[in-house]
Structures are given as structure tokens and as C-alpha cells.
């Protein structure tokens, strides 16, 4: 009888020890851990493309091979985004009707701060992108908001990105469950398949960077937003991050969300955070 009790207690003890070892792993699998995610994300691309310098990933398809890099260098001699850059600089300095300027809305007068956007606003409990902050600045000063996808918004963000060129992306995730949720939501959006073509963002920009889709070479997801806004030959003009998300959705035959929808802001937060440390290269140019 005693032997049976001892055997039973021993089995129980062994089961408890096994549970104690197993349960933290179960919890860890569901825990939101942006630091580990970012490390894994960057390592994936660094290992997939060992010949690409880490800071070159921000040049998208132009980082993928020597021929493309040469095209990029030539393009930079007469960059197609230059007109937007000049217009953005002028717009940025032009006072609103009330006499204030964009500089009054941003830290450091809006100069050299692009790398900190998007950020998580703990008061609002949501992600705030640079485009959103610019339109909020306009509205706070009695001006009508701009379209989020091109023209003036692209010019303004082009100028602000230019003043941050070379600065490493520096996105913070505060110790706030809502911020972690926003990061996780962005991650989920990035990996979720949508549209009749059943593509996720990752289908092209994780599984197939460097490969052709029709005439284009796909950009790696790592650092893909560091170059925003961009001049795209396909668009014959400039486009913002919003425009990029909207057209990506359309190309998979999904109805795009409204620009600056919470999902888009969250995916921008996720993609920017995992590119932390890589330099801002915007405004950029793409085929």
C-alpha cells in the first residue's frame, strides 16, 4: 500500500515538474515580444541576402543586386523626387493663415525627426503617423487637411524625411498594453492573406524579395518604409506610405481600407519598429 502511495506521489511530482517546464513555453508563444520579433525579422533578411550591406536594405529593389545598385546610383544623380522635395521645403516654411507654421507642431521644429514616426500616443491610445500628425497640425491651425496619398502630403513628408536622411529608425514601444496590441495588430495585418489573389504583404516582401513580379523586382520588407515617400515611375509621381498600402491591397484584388485606417497605422508601426537601426533614406524612387 505504501509503495502504491509513493508511486502515485512520485508520478504526481513528475507531472508537476513537467508542467512547470512546459507552461512557460506555452505562455511565451503567445506573448507579444517586439524586441525578439525585430531581431528575428532582421536576421531573416540578413541571412537570406548575406551580400547586401545592412544599411542598403532601405533602398528596396535597388539593394538586391549589383545591376540594380548601379541603376540606383545613376537615378540619384537626377532624382525624380527632387521637385516634390523643393515644393515640400517651401510649403513647410510657408506660414498658415494664422501666422504659425508646421514647425510649431513638432519637436525640434520638425527637422530631423522623421525617424521617430510613427509613435504610440499614450494619451490617445493609438499610433500616430507623420502623415496624420501633419494633417492634425493643419486642422489645429484652421487649415483644411491634405489628401493622404500624394501631392502636398508627399511633398511635405519628402522634405521631412530628407532632413532625417541617414538617421537610424528609432521607433519606441512604450510599456503600455495598448502599444503592444497595436504592434501585434500590425504584425497580424502584415502576415494576413487578403484579396482574390490570396496574398499577404509577406507573400511578396518576405517570401519573394529580389524576384520578379511581372516587370518589377520585389523589395524586401526590411526597411521598406525608411525610403518613404517615394517617386514611383509606375505612378508617374510621388506617393506616401498610405498610397503604398492602398495600392498593395488593390494589387491583390482586395478593397483597400481608407488611408490612415487604424490597421494601416498599426502595420506602419510594426514595419517601422522592425527596421529600427536602419537609416532613413527617404524620399526614395522606385520603378
Amino acid at each position: 500500500m505504501k509503495a502504491r502511495i509513493a508511486l502515485l506521489l512520485g508520478s504526481l511530482g513528475a507531472a508537476l515538474v513537467a508542467f512547470a517546464f512546459a507552461s512557460p513555453r506555452v505562455v511565451a508563444a503567445d506573448k507579444v515580444d517586439p524586441v525578439t520579433d525585430a531581431k528575428a525579422f532582421q536576421n531573416f533578411f540578413f541571412q537570406k541576402f548575406p551580400d547586401v550591406k545592412h544599411e542598403d536594405f532601405v533602398n528596396g529593389p535597388y539593394s538586391m543586386n549589383e545591376d540594380m545598385k548601379r541603376q540606383w546610383r545613376e537615378k540619384e544623380e537626377f532624382p525624380p523626387y527632387e521637385f516634390a522635395l523643393d515644393a515640400g521645403k517651401e510649403m513647410f516654411a510657408t506660414p498658415f493663415k494664422n501666422g504659425k507654421t508646421y514647425a510649431d507642431c513638432f519637436p525640434n521644429g520638425g527637422i530631423g525627426i522623421r525617424q521617430t514616426y510613427p509613435y504610440f500616443d499614450e494619451k490617445e491610445g493609438k499610433v500616430v503617423t507623420l502623415e496624420l500628425a501633419l494633417n492634425r497640425c493643419r486642422e489645429a491651425n484652421g487649415e483644411a487637411p491634405y489628401s493622404y496619398v500624394k501631392d502636398e502630403m508627399a511633398s511635405l513628408t519628402a522634405y521631412m524625411a530628407f532632413t532625417s536622411r541617414g538617421k537610424p529608425m528609432d521607433i519606441r514601444i512604450p510599456d503600455d498594453p495598448r502599444a503592444l496590441e497595436a504592434f501585434e495588430n500590425g504584425k497580424r495585418y502584415f502576415y494576413t492573406r487578403r484579396g482574390q489573389l490570396n496574398f499577404s504583404c509577406a507573400s511578396c516582401h518576405v517570401q519573394s524579395p529580389g524576384q520578379r513580379i511581372r516587370a518589377e523586382i520585389l523589395a524586401p520588407a526590411l526597411g521598406i518604409l525608411n525610403a518613404m515617400p517615394i517617386y514611383r515611375s509606375e505612378w508617374s509621381g510621388m506617393g506616401t506610405t498610405s498610397r503604398r498600402f492602398v495600392t498593395c491591397n488593390s494589387q491583390t484584388r482586395a478593397v483597400p481600407l481608407e488611408p490612415q485606417a487604424e490597421e494601416y497605422r498599426d502595420v506602419e508601426y510594426f514595419l517601422s519598429y522592425v527596421a529600427n537601426g536602419l537609416p532613413i533614406s527617404g524620399p526614395g524612387a522606385r520603378p
Binding site: 520579433d37 492573406r193 487578403r194 482574390q196 482586395a254 481600407l257
Partner: protein, 101 residues
């Protein structure tokens, strides 16, 4: 011989209504079903562009009185909308398989 021919003609005439052209009521029912499925997809933030196009094509054909075409387009729209809701539902978990870890 004559009798069997008459019987065959009667039989053919009795079956004729089954092969009638679609009418407006059929179209409206098909369109309503497609619209309901499409609204469900939109509510899941997972509408497909092709669903919207098929629904628009159904309406255009229906407004023009071409109910056969309208019903075909409405049925296509309904099928597409249902596929998109299936996608949204399955992706609630399936996305994790793609994640870089």
C-alpha cells in the same frame, strides 16, 4: 404514329415553362443574396474588388432588363463574397504560419 407525335408535342409544350427566361423576381432574389454576402465581407474588412465589380455588373444588367446576365453576375458576386469571408475567418489563425520567428 399521329397520336404519338401529338403526345410528344404536348409533352414538349408542358415542359417549356421550366426553361423560361429568368424574370425580375429571380434577379432581385439573387442580387439580395449577393448583397448580403458582400456586406458581411465588408463588415469583416475583407471585401474583394472583384466582388464589387460583379455586383455592379449584376445591377447594370438588371437595370437594363437582361435578367439572365444579371443573375449570373449576382451569383458570381455571392460566391466571391463567400470566399472572402471564408478567407477572413481562416486567416484569423492561419497568418501565424507565415510569421518570421
Amino acid at each position: 404514329m399521329k397520336r404519338s407525335l401529338t403526345l410528344a408535342m404536348l409533352l414538349a409544350l408542358s415542359l417549356a415553362p421550366a426553361a423560361r427566361a429568368a424574370n425580375e423576381a429571380d434577379y432581385k432574389a439573387a442580387y439580395a443574396a449577393a448583397e448580403t454576402a458582400s456586406k458581411e465581407a465588408a463588415g469583416m474588412r475583407n471585401q474583394w474588388t472583384v466582388t464589387v465589380s460583379a455586383l455592379a455588373a449584376a445591377k447594370k444588367a438588371g437595370d437594363g432588363g437582361d435578367f439572365d446576365r444579371a443573375i449570373a453576375a449576382a451569383k458570381e458576386a455571392e460566391a466571391l463574397a463567400k470566399a472572402s469571408t471564408f478567407q477572413a475567418t481562416s486567416e484569423k489563425e492561419a497568418w501565424k504560419a507565415m510569421e518570421i520567428r
